[in-house]
């Protein structure tokens, strides 16, 4: 068991007005230490729900975990005491980078107040349990050490004049700068895993290139694993070591990035890659619509739109099939050809 995070058969339902939506249906995936794993899929495929389930921040009223486990360093976070998870894991061993940075800061406090609040609870130097820390004040020596660490990490994410930057309010930073601050905050507790939910989607392409490069350099330097959700295949190509593709709440294929883009085996992956616009001017879409999650198709959820579908695909969800070490596909009819070689 070398993996850092291992999600096994996770199923999550959401109670909606229209009925019970099966948002995640038996998802499995692994993240190894020091690895950047891309979780790609179209909107509504459940990638954000999966990210939230791993962090343990699913909306309590609406979401219901139907089964499965989220093993992090051997412990199942779903069955662990929530207080222990909050105290020792979330925000310390697993941190989060959000998509929307403008709503992730409070607009009325300077950035320094907000980062130091985080450090009071989640700094790697913070000792003792939650009750003790709530009662005691922020010890002065630790405050000083933590503040130095904050300045150091702002320098690492290339914020000019860190000491002055800390006194500013969030709106005084541009979107790219705020995303740099978020990366700094995600790295400050020295985590083992960062869950990044579409962190560059709202950014312009030149800023995105700067941020992706920075993030990849920093996590590789520190040996942190990243689970990076995105709907943009180009972004996944830039940053990931391995890619997992999801469709309608099921994982379809997992492969090392090179294989994923060069020889995808799942029909869905192949159609998805083919629909990326290229210079040739040819446009290829995926016929049909994403299925309803309240009444999803039986078996493989992609079968109504799949060119290769047979009755077998309707009968049951295909078991994972290993095509090569590290390359797994859940399909009865995997394609063995370079990308773009079929109709």
């Amino acid at each position: 068991m070398s993996e850092l995070l291992s999600v096994r058969g996770l199923s999550v339902d959401f109670l909606t007005d229209g009925g019970v939506a099966q948002v995640l249906d038996g998802i499995s995936l692994n993240v190894d230490p020091g690895e950047v794993v891309g979780l790609v899929g179209e909107s509504g495929c459940g990638k954000t729900t999966l990210a939230r389930a791993i962090l343990g921040i699913l909306p309590g009223g609406a979401a219901r975990i139907r089964g499965g486990e989220v093993r992090f360093k051997g412990t199942d976070l779903l069955r662990e005491d929530p207080i222990v998870v909050n105290d020792r894991v979330r925000g310390r061993r697993i941190t989060f980078i959000p998509q929307d940075t403008s709503t992730s800061f409070s607009p009325v406090f300077p950035v320094e107040t907000q980062i130091m609040d985080l450090m009071k609870w989640k700094s790697p130097r913070a000792e003792g349990d939650r009750g003790q820390r709530a009662l005691s004040r922020y010890p002065r020596e630790r405050h000083r050490a933590d503040r130095d660490a904050v300045l150091e990490s702002l320098r690492a994410v290339q914020i000019p004049e860190p000491a002055r930057a800390l006194r500013r309010l969030p709106h005084e930073f541009s979107g790219g700068q705020r995303q740099r601050l978020m990366i700094a905050m995600a790295l400050l507790p020295c985590p083992d895993l960062i869950v990044a939910d579409e962190p560059t989607t709202a950014l312009d392409v030149t800023i995105q290139a700067q941020i992706l490069r920075l993030l990849r350099e920093l996590v590789k330097e520190r040996g942190v694993s990243v689970l990076f959700t995105t709907h943009d295949l180009g972004t996944a190509h830039e940053i990931c070591d391995r890619v997992v593709v999801m469709y309608a709440g099921q994982e379809m294929e997992a492969a090392p990035a090179d294989t994923f883009f060069a020889r995808p085996a799942h029909p869905y992956t192949r159609r998805l890659l083919a629909s990326v616009p290229t210079g040739t001017g040819e446009i290829r879409d995926i016929p049909g619509d994403v299925p309803s999650l309240v009444a999803p198709p039986a078996g493989c959820r992609f079968h109504p739109r799949c060119d290769y579908a047979t009755p077998e695909c309707r009968a049951g969800r295909p078991a994972p099939r290993a095509l090569a070490p590290d390359h797994e596909v859940r399909c009865h009819h995997p394609v063995d050809a370079p990308a773009g070689d079929d109709g």
Binding site: I207, A209, Q210, L212, H237, A262, P277, T278, I283, D289
Partner: protein
């Protein structure tokens, strides 16, 4: 390109005043600042740039949503930028604007049929039968069954709503459509369907498009010519294939270098452009890109480069 241009912009500018708490003007945001370009009938011109470069303001100024601060807008040979609003309305038939999600502008309490007839009632004197005929033709063209006419927007999927929104614009048979970020926020597979639809509609109705987008891959696959904007100005204008193959302006070069290329080397490994675009309230003197430009020289700070002809395209750089 012997025919006269359908749309011609001459030194078009749109500035927005910046006011302080007491309502006194403290400066100007020069969102569009001296843009000249021509769009020929039947073509698709791409207008690209990063957020804040003025591409949407340009589209809205052409549409008459903003009044131009200076310069001319000529549509079909006629100056339309300074027309009184009564005469301006007559142009609306020929020149239409599509927002990011055309489906969102449908009235939720109207059936599709009502929404599709409305523009015809306002802008034409067609009889009821003629209107129905027209609506039917358009509905077929956007790929919706006739039975959908009796549905309310909430009974349609997002993609179908989008098609109805487009049909609504097309019932007037416009000659030119300005598409403002029509695919942003869409998944690639849905985006491919939308682009396909735009293309088939262009062929059916002989439309001219101005395609505003920040997504270079989309522009590359749909537009024959592109104009690249930076801080309110066009920095490069030319045939898409040529610009993508050999960008001449350093900004175009950086912009293209930042787009991930699936299957190739990671572009972020070599990406060199530093910093972020300056505040449009306070644009640099001379060339606006000089604060981030790798080729910057003294002349760039003193002289603003003109958009000049370089090997079949136009580039605004002293060193192109």
């Amino acid at each position: 390109m012997s025919a006269p241009p359908l749309l011609e912009l001459v030194d078009l500018a749109r500035h927005f005043p910046v006011r302080n708490a007491f309502g006194r003007r403290t400066g100007w945001i020069r969102a569009v600042d001296g843009v000249s370009l021509a769009v020929w009938p039947g073509e698709t011109l791409g207008l690209v740039g990063e957020s804040g470069c003025g591409k949407s303001t340009l589209g809205k100024t052409v549409m008459g949503i903003h009044a131009p601060t200076a310069g001319d807008i000529r549509f079909d040979g006629r100056e339309i930028g300074r027309l009184p609003s009564s005469e301006r309305r007559a142009i609306a038939r020929d020149l239409q604007y599509v927002y990011q999600d055309p489906g969102a502008s449908l009235d939720p309490r109207w059936k599709v049929v009502h929404s599709l007839h409305e523009p015809l009632k306002i802008h034409t004197r067609l009889s009821r039968a003629e209107r129905e005929e027209q609506v039917h033709v358009i509905l077929t063209a956007v790929g919706l069954p006739g039975a959908h006419l009796d549905l309310y927007p909430h009974e349609l999927s997002g993609g179908q709503q989008r098609r109805v929104g487009l049909a609504r614009i097309l019932t007037l048979r416009p000659r030119m459509i300005i598409l403002d970020e029509p695919t942003s926020g869409l998944d690639v597979s849905v985006q491919a369907s939308v682009l396909k639809l735009f293309r088939s509609l262009q062929a059916t109705f002989a439309l001219t498009y101005v395609f505003i987008s920040h997504d270079l891959a989309v522009v590359r696959s749909t537009c024959a010519r592109i104009a690249v904007m930076y801080l309110g100005r066009i920095v490069e204008l030319g045939a898409t294939a040529a610009v993508f193959e050999q960008p001449r302006h350093p900004y175009t070069r950086s912009l293209l270098a930042a787009v991930p290329r699936i299957g190739g080397r990671r572009v972020t490994l070599d990406f060199a452009l530093k910093g972020e675009p300056p505040n449009p309230r306070d644009v640099p003197s001379g060339c606006r890109f000089r604060t981030r430009c790798p080729l910057v020289q003294d002349v760039c700070a003193t002289e603003e480069p003109a958009l000049r002809e370089v090997e079949g395209r136009r580039v605004a750089c002293h060193f192109a």
